[in-house]
């Protein structure tokens, strides 16, 4: 249990998707103009991460890894399908995003109206595929750790995008040199935020 909490906290602050790995930068830059929309996108990302990463973990462990097929029959134990993981992961993500979208539309029209436009975009958000690939690379021990990791990364991403959106709302009233306006200053501020987040380095619970 302690290990799970450790991974959870670490993936929010230390291994933050945006500040440490720059994943999901495209939508981070495009959708961070107001706090409200960025909150919507952030929640959608948390949601999709929480579903796809554990699912991909199961697929990776029971279908793709070397020897993973042994549970069907011992003869299949020598098969290694891990080269297929990119294509399987992206297919799972695209399919799950579609399913989640339909499910939310049926069950919670209010949430759907808020997330609606963002959900399809998420399929090609690097943070989602990145989290699945990190999960594969870091070789977590059990599904609990994977869930902690995916929830933490999602919340870290949410924190980053809401933070930058709040700053950008204020920035609109500042005197910024014309060539730096918009994209340039957003990059530099993200850099400064990343330096602030570096102070969490080395935290261990």
């Amino acid at each position: 249990m302690q290990e799970i909490i450790n991974i959870f906290v670490k993936s929010i602050f230390v291994d933050n998707m945006i500040f440490a790995f720059f994943l999901g930068m495209c939508s981070y830059l495009a959708v961070s103009k107001t706090v409200k929309t960025s909150m919507g996108l952030g929640i959608a990302v948390v949601f999709v991460l929480l579903i796809t990463v554990p699912l991909n973990y199961l697929i990776d462990n029971f279908l793709l890894k070397e020897g993973a097929l042994a549970w069907i029959s011992p003869k299949l134990a020598s098969i290694d399908l891990s080269y297929l993981s990119f294509i399987v992961f992206i297919a799972v993500i695209a399919a799950m995003v579609q399913l989640v979208e339909m499910f939310i539309e049926k069950t919670s029209p209010v949430l759907y109206a808020q997330l609606g436009i963002f959900l399809p975009l998420i399929a090609v958000n690097c943070a989602i595929l990145g989290a699945s690939l990190f999960m594969q690379e870091r070789e977590y021990n059990n599904i609990g750790e994977v869930i902690g990791f995916s929830l933490g990364s999602g919340l870290g991403w949410l924190l980053a995008i809401v933070g930058i959106a709040a700053i950008r709302e204020k920035l609109r009233y500042s005197q910024i040199p014309a060539p730096l306006r918009g994209l340039g200053i957003t990059f530099i501020i993200t850099g400064l935020m990343a330096i602030a987040f570096m102070s969490f380095l080395g935290i261990k619970l």
Binding site: N125, L180, G184
Partner: protein, 206 residues
């Protein structure tokens, strides 16, 4: 074929640079540029993927049903990325280890998807090929520039070779280790955008 349309190659290098102007493919651009070698390998891989996916999609653009085009594009891009990944693992294993997940992330690299959607879906194969080359090189230029700056000031080397003479260190010069940390990549891209827009006023935002 009425000759090569050079605009398709030239524009993405400056006026329509995929990173600084179209804001595509930032994700991978920053993470792999702490050293020159991985940045260069990454740039090369993206060029290969973007060129061939542009070409393939453009060849079959009239047969793809519009409703499922995204998934068709994703499958073709993933296949190309798997090929690139396997080749990297076979020939430059060390670099492929350093790039870790970022090779896989070429699949969701917005440059690839963005160019497929914006260009290859409604242009001829040869033009799409050129567009792919142009955008790939535009991306590579920024990546290699960042790689050179960060490795030179961050570790005093280029491509792993020492370039800053020992006498500098004896005089008290020190490597700026912030350069190889993630935040500096963001700030450097901000500065590159600043310089580019200061020289080309048309690109400024209101």
């Amino acid at each position: 074929m009425a000759g090569i349309n050079f605009k398709l190659i030239k524009n993405p290098l400056s006026k329509e640079n995929p990173i600084t102007v179209q804001v595509l493919g930032i994700c991978s651009a920053l993470a792999v540029t702490a050293k020159l070698q991985p940045a260069f390998v990454m740039a090369l891989s993206v060029i290969v993927v973007v060129v061939f996916s542009n070409l393939i999609i453009s060849l079959i653009r009239n047969t793809i049903p519009p409703r499922i085009r995204i998934i068709v594009q994703l499958v073709i891009v993933s296949l190309l990325v798997i090929l690139v990944d396997q080749i990297l693992k076979a020939f430059v294993y060390d670099v492929s280890k350093q790039l870790s997940v970022f090779v896989g992330l070429i699949i969701t690299n917005c440059i690839v998807m963005g160019r497929l959607e914006a260009f290859a879906m409604n242009n001829k194969p040869f033009d799409s090929l050129l567009d792919g080359i142009g955008n790939g090189i535009g991306y590579a230029v920024i990546l290699v520039t960042l790689g050179i700056i960060r490795e030179l000031f961050g570790s005093g080397t280029l491509w792993g070779y020492n370039v800053i003479p020992q006498s500098f260190y004896d005089m008290g010069y020190q490597d700026n280790s912030l350069m190889i940390m993630p935040p500096m990549a963001l700030i450097l891209v901000g500065i590159i955008i600043w310089i580019q827009r200061a020289r080309n006023k048309d690109l400024c935002e209101k």
